[in-house]
Each structure stands twice: as C-alpha cells, then as structure tokens.
C-alpha cells in the first residue's frame, strides 16, 4: 500500500504546498496516519478518497505550520523529449500554469489538482472533500475561471534553460 499510494500522495502534496520538503513531510505524515488509523476506515467509502482526504487535511496543517515561499525547482517541470521549439512552447505553458495554480487559493487549487492531475472523478472529489457534489462543481467552475484569468495574466519567471535551448537551436 505504501508503494502504491506514496507517488500520488506526494504529487498531490507537492502541487498543494509547492515546496518539495513540505510535500515530503506532508506525504510521510499522511501515510503514517493512514496506517495508524486503518481501523477507522469506513469500507463504505472508497479507499483512495479516504487517503486523499487525510492527505488534504495534512497538507492544510503543513501549510499552516510553515508559510511556504520556495518554489519547486525547474527539474520538476522540464522534460525534454520533443523538439527544442515545441519544448519551449510546452515548457512555457507548463510554467504559466504552474505559476497560475500557485496563486489560486488552496480550496480552488485542491479541486483542480485532484481532477486534472490525479484524475479523480467529480463524485470522488466530493467524497474526498466531504462536500455535496453541487458545491464541488461550483467550486471547480470558480477555480477554472480564476485559473484562466491568472494564466492569461501570468508573468513568466526568468527561465535560463529555455533561453539556452532556443539560442542553441538558432545557432
């Protein structure tokens, strides 16, 4: 179970907290809580939504405990498998989205992360957050709208790797 859930829980925490050390702590605390509280698991509920409910609460606690400022490094976003120009555009989109997501309030960020990155179904998100589906949908719509605005307005951070790739391709 640890092997199965560690990657997804870590990814979720990393995207919520945007700091790899905090994400690591939150993921570890989440899975320790899961194991130690297995007797409290309600089999009527889907196991993954129970785990992510704990992950979400743990990430919120972690966020309160430490005010995060460190961004995840470029290594988490870059993956050069396509052509340099395609990669520039792809990386630009990724960085823009990363930047916009980081500016969203956590209550909006969590629904988008669960849906778009962890591929949860809408009803699973509702179960994870213990909210009615209508409320979750409303939150997702608001989150998407806000994200689009932030994405359009996002100023890209200085990315030396990108310029280097483009310059190298041109020369």
């Amino acid at each position: 179970m640890i092997q199965r859930y560690t990657p997804s829980v870590y990814r979720f925490c990393a995207r919520m907290l945007r700091d790899d050390e905090d994400a690591r702590d939150a993921a570890q605390n989440t899975l320790v809580k899961v194991i130690r509280n297995l007797h409290r698991y309600d089999p009527e509920r889907k196991f993954s939504t129970w785990v992510f409910g704990i992950a979400r609460n743990t990430a919120i606690d972690e966020q309160r405990r430490r005010r995060f400022t460190t961004e995840l490094g470029d290594r988490d976003l870059a993956d050069t498998r396509s052509s340099p120009l395609e990669e520039t555009s792809r990386q630009e989109r990724a960085e823009r989205l990363h930047e916009a997501l980081g500016q969203l309030p956590p209550m909006y960020r969590e629904v988008l992360v669960l849906y778009h990155f962890e591929h949860f179904k809408y009803q699973e998100i509702a179960e994870t957050l213990e909210l009615p589906l209508g409320t979750v949908m409303n939150r997702i719509f608001r989150a998407r709208r806000r994200l689009r605005e932030l994405y359009e307005a996002a100023e890209l951070p200085e990315a030396p790797g990108v310029h280097g790739v483009v310059a190298g391709a041109g020369g």
Binding site: A23, L31, R75, L77, F117, G134
Partner: protein, 165 residues
Amino acid sequence: MHVHDDLLRRFVDGALDDEVAASVAIHLDSCSRCATRAATLEPLALAFAAVDDPIVPAELPHDILTAIHAPPVPVIEPTLGAELGLALALAAAAALLVVLTGDGPALMVDAAAAMGGASAAFGALSLDLVEPGAALLGLSLGAALLMALGATRDLLGRVFSPGRV
C-alpha cells in the same frame, strides 16, 4: 445517451447552475466518451497536459516505513493535580490583580480582574492545557476570592476612612 455539445460547452464554461452541473458531472464520471469531449473543450487542456509530475523522492517509501515503525511520540496527559494547580494559579492571579490595583474604583478593578482571569482560563482551555471542568472550578474560585477581597476592602475602608462614601 450523451451530453449535447452546447450543454457540455456550458458545463465547461461553468455557465450551468449547480444542480444541472452536478447531473452532467455524474454522467461524465461514468461516460468516458463525454468526459474526453469535455476535456478537449477545456481551454487550458494543453497547459494541464504540459505539466509534468513532480519527481517523487526515491527514498520516501522507505522513510515512511521507518516512520510507521517508530514508536509514537508519547502524549503527556495533564494530571488532575496539575489541572487543579493551574486553576488555582489562575484564581490567585486574578486575586493578585485586585490587590495590586486596589486603589481604583472597586467595580472597575473587580471587572478587570475577572476579565483577566477569564481570558487566562479560556486561553488555557484553547491550548488544551486544562479540562473545561478545571477551568470552571478555577473561575468559580476566582470569583469567590474576588467577592471575599471586595468585602474585606469595603470593611477596611469603613474602618480606616469613615468619612468616605
């Protein structure tokens, strides 16, 4: 039966009311074809696809197993004696306030002392330092002490300052 294009577009745009949106969401959860169509309508679909997953630290599963097998940190439960001691300390602090500020108008002083004591008690409660019963006991003792001190002060005032009203 699949979701009509227009309805799906309005769903993606967030233009549906919560109830209709929830119905569409239930359908999308069980219909991969409509879910895929909805995903392609999402303006930021390409951007979401461009984001790579964070790299999971290789040693994390091992660290988690180690943490699971580590003995849990013992929780120090406050004893009844400690709680009573704290409650008495709170009451004494309230009484001390009255003694130290005894020159002001008696009612204001008592009120300030009572508020101080109550704030301390609720602060201790919120920090889980004391049980509610112990805090109430402390407040009751504090109130009793205040009344006793007030009565003593009035008596002394009458004895030493007979002209004062």
